[in-house]
């Protein structure tokens, strides 16, 4: 791009064209004089199992074209277009449907009117990996047994449905900034990503060597990446038309651009006035190693739910090693059940803009930021607030300091919370409640945090950890087994945290 480079480039082109012309002279003799037909060998191409590939053979038939036949290995081949009989040159197009990964071959034999023949073999490299670089604008199915690579920020655009079958692996290309890959489900688009307890849908990085066969074998963890490696790609963003409370209020609705997506991509808008809006269904999904940075303080969460309505099903979700938050709610009404967040680079659960759904049954393991970072309305619209209940939080491991971070205007009710793995830092508690808890506690909307149990390290008291008066709601228990509140960890068998033994290690 430098001017100097342009000059160099021009010089190179001149030199190259001189060479090209002289080379061209050398080669132009052979083919034209041949009497027998000539089939040119096409360049190698790439294909994916079950996905048709078109292969074009250029042919020269001095004696006049009569017929062609095709044979294939590792797939099936059919001629879908050929020159008219008697033509002296043209193209034969073959459709090849690969059936197995490896090297596929397509051999074409052409016969002329004199019965003379020639043949050529095209080679197709077959994998089960598909690189996606374009937005999804029509209904699309991502099939089991395959790996889909997100070449960048791929958007399911309004009106389109992306269905992801159980067991599918999606891998994001590497990169930060505008380079970050992500799956974005725009407003009025639908994502049907329903995995199963034995066939979860896994979102990870291209660096992850996990294969559909690993998943089939029950190996849900990465064979090569540790569970604390983050920031390798973006994340999953689902946007909807449910109400949000943000500063950009138009005449009837409030809509803004989601964090991490530049405004020039209008697919990043969310918010509306349809509380029952559906963005589809997300169940048995595990999202790993994401959270790439888009700009300062502007990372992508593992799962971002912006203005998502309660017509959407979100259940059984695992987020592992995301550089930003695990799950972040920006307004909306969606209810979410069974969430596990492990090694989040920032907060594990984050809420903003007057989200009014319920989050039920949550396990948080070793956050780096706050376990819960909960905010309220940012515009004049207020909702009935959100509820977070039945949670188990293991605080140690990545330096997290705040168990619950609330503001004066946070609109949350929390209950049945269990905290353990509380640390000691030179005789002081390593984990606390945010200073603003007292402001929150004095709210006039009736929001409250109640019914907490915690394992308190020796020498310290409940009040040391649960600061600002929250200690009144806390009962100290001896260990995990004696807790009577918290999450039901048994539902997380589909997670990496479970199969790796990480949950077992902390007694869950």
């Amino acid at each position: 791009m430098k001017l100097k480079d342009t000059l160099k480039y021009l010089a190179t082109i001149m030199l190259a064209s001189v060479l090209f012309i002289s080379c061209g002279d050398d080669n132009s003799n052979g083919a034209e004089q041949s009497e027998v037909p000539f089939v040119e060998t096409p360049a190698q191409s790439n294909g994916t199992v079950d996905e048709p590939v078109e292969i074009t053979f250029n042919i020269t038939v001095s004696g006049g074209y009569a017929s062609a036949s095709v044979t294939a290995e590792n797939g099936t081949a059919t001629i879908i277009s050929e020159p008219s009989v008697g033509a002296t040159s043209g193209t034969v197009v073959v459709e090849f449907i690969p059936t197995a990964i490896g090297s596929g071959t397509v051999e074409l034999e052409v016969t002329d009117s004199d019965g003379l023949t020639d043949d050529a073999t095209a080679i197709v490299n077959i994998s089960n990996t598909i690189v996606v670089t374009d937005n999804i604008t029509s209904d699309t199915i991502w099939k089991d047994g395959k790996t889909y690579v997100l070449g960048g920020r791929i958007t399911v655009e309004a009106g389109a449905t992306l269905e992801i079958e159980p067991g599918v692996i999606i891998k994001g290309e590497a990169g930060t900034g505008s380079n970050a890959s992500a799956l974005l489900v725009a407003r009025d688009a639908t994502l049907l990503a329903d995995g199963s307890p034995t066939q979860p849908i896994i979102f990870t990085s291209v660096a992850d060597e996990i294969t559909p066969e690993d998943v089939d074998a029950g190996n849900f963890g990465s064979p090569n990446l540790d569970a604390n490696i983050n920031g390798l790609w973006g994340g999953v963003i689902v946007l909807g038309n449910a109400p949000i409370s943000a500063s950009n209020e138009g005449t009837d609705i409030s809509e803004i651009q989601i964090e991490g997506i530049p405004s020039s991509d209008t697919n990043g808008l969310y918010g509306g006035n349809d509380p029952t809006d559906s963005s589809g269904s997300l169940t048995y999904i595990t999202i790993r190693h994401g959270g790439a940075n888009i700009g300062e303080g502007n990372e992508i969460n593992g799962l971002t739910l912006g203005g998502v309505g309660n017509g959407t099903v979100v259940e059984n979700i695992e987020i592992v090693a995301n550089q930003d938050d695990g799950v972040e709610f920006f307004g909306g009404t969606v209810n979410v059940t069974n969430v596990l967040v492990w090694n989040s680079g920032d907060d594990s659960i984050d809420s903003d803009q007057a989200w009014s759904g319920t989050l039920d049954n949550v396990v948080i393991v070793s956050p780096s930021g706050s376990a819960f970072e909960l905010d309220g309305p940012e515009g004049s619209f207020t909702s009935t607030g959100h509820t977070i209940q039945n949670t188990t939080v293991y605080m140690e491991g990545n330096g997290s300091e705040l168990m619950i971070d609330v503001d004066a205007n946070t609109d949350v009710n929390m209950n049945n919370l269990f905290f353990f793995g509380l640390g000691v830092n030179e005789g002081s508690p390593a984990h606390v409640i945010s200073d603003d808890y007292t402001d929150y506690a004095s709210n006039t909307n009736g929001y409250s945090i109640t019914n907490i149990e915690a394992v308190i390290p020796n020498g310290l008291t409940v009040a040391d950890y649960f600061t600002g008066g929250l200690d009144a709601e806390v009962t100290a228990v001896n260990d995990v087994a004696s807790a009577t509140v918290g999450a039901d960890a048994s539902v997380f068998g589909f997670t990496w945290a479970s199969v790796s033994g990480a949950l077992n290690d902390i007694g869950l």
């Binding site: 791009m1 430098k2 001017l3 670089t133 937005n135 070449g151 960048g152 920020r153 590497a174 990169g175 930060t176 900034g177 505008s178 380079n179 890959s181 990085s205 490696i229 920031g231 390798l232 943000a246 500063s247 950009n248 803004i256 651009q257 964090e259 530049p262 405004s263 020039s264 808008l269 959270g291 940075n293 888009i294 700009g295 300062e296 303080g297 550089q323 930003d324 938050d325 680079g345 920032d346 907060d347 780096s368 930021g369 970072e373 905010d375 309305p377 940012e378 515009g379 004049s380 330096g399 300091e401 503001d407 004066a408 830092n425 508690p429 390593a430 984990h431 606390v432 945010s434 603003d436």
Partner: protein, 963 residues
Amino acid sequence: MKMIKKFLPILLLACSFSLNAFAQKGTLRGTIIDDETAEPIFGATIYIQSEGTGTTSDFDGKFELQLDSGEYTLRISYISYQTIEIEDVEIDEGEITNLGNIRLNPAITELEGVVVTSSRVTISEAAIMTAKMNSANVIDGISAEAFSKIGVSDAAEALKNVTGVSVEGGKYVYVRGLGDRYTQTMLNSVEIPSLDPDRNSLQIDIFPTNLINNMVITKTAVAEMPANFTGGIVDIETIDFPEEPIYDFSMSFDYNPDMHFNSDFLTYDGSNTDFLGFDSGARELPEGAGNSDIPSPISGNSSQEVYDFVNGFNPTLGPYTATNFANYSASFTLGNQYNVFDDKKLGYIMSLTYKSSSNHYSNYQLGEYQNQPDPTAYDLIYATRQNGTLSEQSVLLGGLTGIAFKTDNSKYKLTAMHLQNGESTAGNFFIDNSQDAPGQSGYTADSYNLEYGQRSITNLMLNGVNYFDNTNWEVNWRSAMTFSSMTDPDIRKTAYTLSLTGANPRFNAGAGGFPSRIWRYMDEVNYANRLDITREYDLLDMPAKLKFGGSYVYKERDFEILSFNMQFFGAQPTLEGNPSEILVDENIYGNGGTIYYQSGNPDPNPNAYNSNVNSYAAYVSNEFSLFEKLKIYVGLRAEQYTQRHTGRDALFAQGGTGNNLDNEKVLDGLDLFPSTNLSYELGEDQNLRLAYSRTIARPSFKELSFAQILDPVSDRIFNGGLFAIGEWDGNLRETYINNIDLRWEKYMGLNEMFSASLFYKSFQDPIELVRIQVQQTSSEFQPRNVGDGEVYGAEFEIRKSLGFISESIRHFGISTNVTLVRSVIDMTEQEFIARNNGEKEGQNVDDTRDMAGQAPYIINAGFTYDNAEAGLDAGFFYNVKGETLTAVGGGLFPDVYSQPFHSLNFSLNKRLGEEGKSSVSLNVTNILDDSRDEFYQGFNTADQIFSSYNEHRSISVGYKYSF
């Protein structure tokens, strides 16, 4: 610099030759000008009766005589001018006596000569004033002579005292308070690019005054000037033909008690050529880092390759403290002229300057504030506040060399100039992010910033003037090449997110961020060619001037940002908070650690573009009188302007269906720009002027693009104007401006004048950088045509010696100018809605507001003492610019206003010795110790800091010696 080396031997040869040539005789020189128009008189007779010898003036009005030592009387005459006799002209052996400008009065009746003595001092400031008085259009200016009087060392400082001029941040010159978009900078009458990718105007503080002959500000358009200005054109003219031999050396020291010899000064180890204003490689982009795939644990490279790659980056991420030195500068100028090939003249000039300055701000504050959603909550709440220490070490190296050749009817000038500036910045800030602000999570961080900015301009110009038909035809042509370059190599930011409970600090991507580093490059070439033909003739028996010509300008800019983020492949190392602990061997991936760098640069890069402009212009103008007292100027200019852009957006860069421009036309327009100026002589030395012109402001290179540029310094994202976002249709257009000026001016004694002006400008589709409201978590901006705007203004200027009060205080004088402006712009619907949504109880949001960047008033005042006989000048100078809207808010974001900076300075300049060969100067700046502030302003609540720092007082002493 190469040019200088090449020319040096020739120049040195030239000086030795000229020194010896006329050793036995003395040389007398002077310039004959018309007292009314300040134009040179060609062919005037200079006669020395006692010797029976004489000469005539050339087309520049210049003459030269070789005379023996002694005292002479000169008689200067020219047809239809009053003859003048100059007595007591002293000639010394081997010396040059320069009489400077000698004014001849057009004789109306007849023809009695006047007699003056040669002790009369010529001040070129007065010549500028005469030029100003007689110019067809409204101009203001300042000449080299005035620089030493007001004690300034760079062009920006010098312009501070010119009517209607304000200088932003000591760098950017704005005329009549209009923003950056509406001021144009020229060097020797050809356009010169800015060295800031975000600005239209050049940082003119990089021009040392010893390279400048004068600076002229054109405020009303004339056809020969480019049409793309509205406030004014600043034309910097470099020195050319020296009248007398110059061998000047000067130096100065500038001491700021709050900044200098300060043991808290932050610095870091740069390269060993930093003192020359450029980096020799210490901040170079590591090999291979420019590729889209850089070695990382997941790139498929071996761990050794990753380790080697990370090691390619400079491991310094933080500053250390070291005592700094005061500012100092030195400059050297030499020049001479001599006769060659009979009467032809060859002149040369050469100048070198070096300046080192050091700034230390111990309490530098930055803030991001927001409105609260609740309409009854008035206070602005902060999202992020930063305060800390910022230290800058800057070097400026400049050189200019020129040769000029003059024959009987032509003059040729070749100049080469290079300016090199390097500024190293180190900062340490405490960052406080509040979770109470919408979209913020709340954290504290300790941030270390290292930056280096390297800028240079190289300019080559060839200029010729040819006269025909007894100077009635003048053909002036110039061709200039300017290469400018701006590099910010390795901007490093490392922010430790601090613990709440006293544990070790960490890097948190969602809080203080991960360490990052950025390289930013901009290169621009500019080829400008200009031809101006002037024909002087008589119309209705009065002198008239027909001018026509054209120009061709080609500009091309390359811009690129490369960014890298530190990442950890697994756990972070245990950190203590000192940046030198980070990039140590054992922390790096491939050597047992986890650190690697991730690229933020796709291929092709959306943070890069290339743009070019082809601009052709032709004009014709006529200056004539309908009757004696009325001078009329009419002109018409046509400009064909074609801008092309190569660049793409992020969606295209990732391989998807985004926007990509491949040298595509983004602007293509042929426009006509009429201009007219009427000047009516109300009485002696009194003019009334009326001017109308149409001008244009075009979108810049990056504005007409799909670029998405994350600015590493402000952390703001710039979106090209071609994106359709929300209600903006992506059709970014030029702004057309109609300008009307009315001015009354009265010229009194030497250097005395009074003037009053009114001006009005209407803006059709002005462009402003608009904050995108739908984006709340980051700051995104886009240039858009907003609603139409209007500017009304008044300007007053007085320069007067106090001699009229009492003769005893005749050396005291005042020079003051005041500009008052009211600007109104119609808000776009989006902005009005956003502001309405943020409306507080008791507030009434209007649908108009001030134009961004437009100052409501500018005051430049001086109280001077000027005693030429004693060789003493002194003065107090005061400059202030009114509160100016600098960032347009709306909704969540309050408006930002820059606050008046009350700059009061004192300067004193005294020539020493009988010959006045040396002089000393003393300057005190920022006597009021005012700080530079920009504030957020809300409704019914206290202002909050957007940025604030204090330069404090400084005292400088200078010494100049002429050999």
